[in-house]
């Protein structure tokens, strides 16, 4: 009887310890003061990145995210075939000079991002990667960080969030395995679908975004994103995004940034514009 009671107490204690440990791991939050958010966009061949860029710019325009430290990277694609969607004009409008071009200038881009990530990690911040594409670029970045700052636990201090099975499938297989085992890799439910635990940011019907956006710069950003999206959607063998072709919006890749920043109040496209449009 005594043995049974002791075992019960022991198992309850172990359960409590494992629960608390698990909670700690899950509840690691983005620090606006110390952390760096890297937004990686493949821009190949789906045009949804363009709308996702405009959505991120909309969030950055909020007073509450004025001090967010971020860097956006264009051209972080993997091994998919097809044509690139040239996004540089939109990146410049959305992020000013706080972005790099891994498509045209892969080496300088890598050097710049490694430098930013190292500075953050050395100043006790964490690095969060919103992987709006494949993980080939992230693999090289992580490898460089491991080499340059071996004293820092990259596996605990670098977090990578991915929402798409397809993005994983067209990442170089060894690079995917490498990032999955080297950092805090978080696979989240697909941001294209509703009601799965992440916001569903794809809608063929939603077109009244301009009723909400009042900031002229953001208005220009969304107009450019939509114009460029229509210009390249399904063209010359590129992926045809049906929601966008029907006049709707698709910023499904923004779901990873919502996950990182814990924007749990959003469910869909309309929610986003109601909360952050003004």
């Amino acid at each position: 009887m005594q043995l049974k009671t002791t075992l019960h107490i022991l198992s309850l204690f172990l359960l409590l310890v494992s629960h608390v440990t698990g909670q700690d791991k899950e509840s690691k939050s983005f620090s606006l003061e110390k952390d760096l958010l890297l937004a990686h966009y493949d821009c190949k061949t789906d045009v949804d990145d363009l709308h996702s860029i405009a959505a991120f710019a909309t969030l950055l325009a909020q007073d509450s995210y004025a001090q967010l430290q971020y860097h956006a990277v264009a051209g972080t694609y993997g091994i998919q075939e097809g044509l690139y969607v040239p996004p540089n004009e939109l990146f410049q409008l959305a992020f000013d000079d706080n972005w790099s071009d891994a498509h045209e200038n892969p080496k300088p881009t890598l050097a710049r991002v490694v430098d930013l990530a190292k500075t953050t990690l050395e100043n006790h911040g964490d690095v969060w990667i919103a992987e709006a594409g494949q993980s080939d670029f992230s693999a090289v970045l992580i490898q460089a960080l491991q080499t340059d700052i071996p004293e820092i636990r990259i596996s605990e201090r670098v977090h990578l969030v991915q929402h798409s099975n397809w993005n994983e499938d067209v990442t170089t297989p060894t690079a995917l395995k490498f990032v999955q085992r080297s950092v805090d890799y978080q696979k989240i439910p697909d941001g294209n679908a509703l009601g799965n635990g992440t916001p569903g940011f794809q809608s063929a019907e939603y077109d009244n975004w301009s009723d909400h956006i009042q900031n002229p710069e953001l208005l220009a950003t969304w107009e450019m994103a939509i114009t460029m999206g229509n210009q390249y959607n399904g063209k010359e063998g590129r992926y045809l995004n049906k929601a966008i072709a029907e006049g709707g919006l698709d910023f499904s890749d923004f779901s990873e940034i919502c996950w990182i920043l814990k924007l749990n109040n959003l469910e869909n496209v309309a929610d986003f514009f109601e909360h952050y449009g003004k």
Binding site: P106, L110, F137, A139, Q143, P173, T174, K177, R181
Partner: protein, 147 residues
Amino acid sequence: MENNILTKRNYLGILKVLTFSFFSLVLVVSCSTDNENESSTNNPIVGNWILVSRTVSDVPVALDECETLIVLTVRENQTLFSQFNTSEVPEKCQTLAFFELAWEQDSASFYNITLGTTMVSTMELNNNQLIERLSDRDWVNFYERAE
């Protein structure tokens, strides 16, 4: 006096046994070292390999330009590593990630390839061609020996 002779005989006997043991040990050690060298040096997977083709779900697919510039080196120390086979690497290929992998012989012509403790693929040596089957994708890579 007799005791001294016996001691001398014993001493010579012990010396003979020790000498014999020493040479036997040297022989055994040198033989086993030779065998180990022979097995790793002569393992047919060791050497340089070039990716020549790939199938995805049994359908041939084109290789990326960057992939055609890579040589896979399978080392005797049971590691393998990729690198460019040219110094004139195009800009777009310069940020490719290469990883130190490990190989272990599973059976006569099959090898397991791992990244740390993670299984990456199996390789089969078949008529001087190396066939790599990825562990979680329907991909098959075909390599030929580099000249």
